[in-house]
Symmetry: C2
Subunit: 240 residues, 2 copies
C-alpha cells in the first residue's frame, strides 16, 4: 500500500467575490482589498496589489463559515449570503512573481500550494460600508467594466463569477436585498439589466415579472419626482 499521502498537505483558502449593485449609476461593482504594505525596511520593492478578499481557512469551521469569517475580518462585512461557486487549485496559481513579496511576508511557507474555494455574494452597495481589517490596507469598489490586474489568479476567479450571474440573474435577485424595501418597477428592471448586461423592453419586462409573482404592489407612490410618480412594490417573503 502506498503511503504518499503522509505529508502531502496543502493550504486551503476561501476567496469572496462580493458584487455591489450601485443603483444610482446602475452598475455592478466588485469589492477589492488593497494589500497592506508591510514594513518597507524589511521587504524591498514590495508592491501592494488589489485582490479579492480571501484568506486561509481555520481548523474547526466549515467552508461556508470560513468565507463569512474571512470576509468579515478583511472588510467587516457581516451577515451576507455567500455561495460557493468553484474551486481553483492549479499548482502555480499563487506562484507568479507579482505575488512573491506578499507571500514572503504573510506565509510561513511562501512556496506552498494554495487551493481556494471561491464564493459569490451580491449586495446593495449603499447598504454596507466595508472597513478594511487584517492585512487589508483599504477596500475599494471597482466597476466590473474596469477591473485592474489583481493578485494571484483573482482575475480568473472574478471572471468566472461574472459569467455565473450573467447566466442566471433571476436566481441572484430574490431575497438578497439588492433594492430598498420599497422599489419601483423601473428600479427592478435596471437591476436585471445591470446583472444580465442586456437591455430589456419595459412592457415585456413588466409582463414577465407579473407572471412570476414575486411582487406585492403597495399603496404608495413616489413623491417629489418631476414626472409621473411610480408605484412602489416589495418582494414577497420567500415561499419556503
Amino acid at each position: 500500500m502506498k503511503n504518499k499521502q503522509s505529508y502531502l498537505q496543502n493550504y486551503v483558502s476561501v476567496d469572496c467575490v462580493v458584487l455591489g449593485y450601485d443603483e444610482v449609476e446602475n452598475r455592478l461593482q466588485v469589492l477589492l482589498i488593497k494589500q497592506k504594505d508591510p514594513d518597507k525596511q524589511n521587504v524591498d520593492s514590495y508592491k501592494s496589489q488589489y485582490a479579492l478578499p480571501g484568506d486561509l481557512i481555520n481548523e474547526n469551521e466549515s467552508l461556508d463559515e470560513a468565507a463569512s469569517r474571512v470576509l468579515n475580518e478583511l472588510t467587516h462585512i457581516k451577515g451576507i449570503y455567500l455561495q460557493q461557486f468553484y474551486t481553483f487549485g492549479h499548482p502555480d496559481r499563487v506562484s507568479a512573481p507579482k505575488d512573491a513579496d506578499w507571500l514572503r511576508v504573510h506565509r510561513k511557507d511562501p512556496n506552498a500550494r494554495v487551493i481556494t474555494i471561491a464564493y459569490l455574494a451580491l449586495v446593495r452597495i449603499d447598504h454596507i460600508t466595508p472597513l478594511a481589517g487584517s492585512f487589508a490596507e483599504n477596500t475599494i469598489w471597482r466597476s466590473i467594466k474596469k477591473i485592474p490586474k489583481l493578485a494571484f489568479d483573482h482575475n480568473q476567479i472574478l471572471g468566472k463569477a461574472l459569467e455565473i450571474i450573467k447566466e442566471h440573474p433571476e436566481q441572484h435577485i430574490m431575497g438578497r436585498e439588492l433594492l430598498p424595501p420599497k422599489f419601483t418597477l423601473s428600479q427592478l428592471q435596471n437591476l436585471y439589466e445591470a446583472m444580465s448586461g442586456l437591455q430589456l423592453d419595459k412592457r415585456n419586462f413588466r409582463k414577465s415579472i407579473k407572471t412570476a409573482d414575486y411582487l406585492i404592489p403597495l399603496d404608495e407612490k413616489q413623491k417629489g419626482v418631476l414626472h409621473k410618480p411610480a408605484q412602489y412594490f416589495s418582494f414577497k417573503k420567500s415561499k419556503k
Copy 2:
C-alpha cells in the same frame, strides 16, 4: 499581523462520481469501489465499505489532473471527461465512526480534516471496464435507484451529482460518447429519459432534437430486428 496560517494545512482530495449509462436496462449506474480489507490481524473489526473513487491530490498536478489520476489508479479508467461540480469541506466530513478504521490504516493522521473537490463523469457502461487498483478491492456498478450506505459523506456527494444531471441532461449528452457511434432516435430518447427521470413523448422529442441540429442522419438502417428497422444517426462534431 496575525500568523495563524502558519501550520494550518489540510488534506485535499478529489472524489469522482462516474455515472455509467446502461443502454440495455436503460438506467444510470454509479461506479463504486469496495475498500480493501487491510490485514485483519492488525485492525480488528474492520468493515470494508463502498465508496466513490477518490484520494488525496499530489503535489504537482492540477485538480483536474488529480481527478483523472486518482480515478485511473483505483479503477484503471482512463481518458474520460471529468467535470468539477462542488467542494465538500465540513470539518467532520470524514470523522464518522464508520470511517475510523479505514482512516487509521490509510492516513498518517487519521483525525485530520480532508477537503474534497468532487468531479462528475458520464460514460457508456459497456465502453469501459473498471479494474480495481490501489486500495480498491473491487469495483461495482450500482443503480442510482439503489445506493448503499457509502463511506464518508459520499452519499451526499453523489446526491448533489444526480441533482446536477437531472437539471441539465442535454449538457451532459453531447460529445460524451454515451451511445454507440451510430444510434437510433429511440436510443437517444431513452438516454434523455434515464438522465432526466422523465417520460418523453416520441413525436415531440424528435421534433425538438431536430430543431437543435445535433444530428447527422445516416444512410443506414437496423438489420435483423423483428420490427420496422430504424434509421441510424450520429452526432455532429462539436462546432468549436
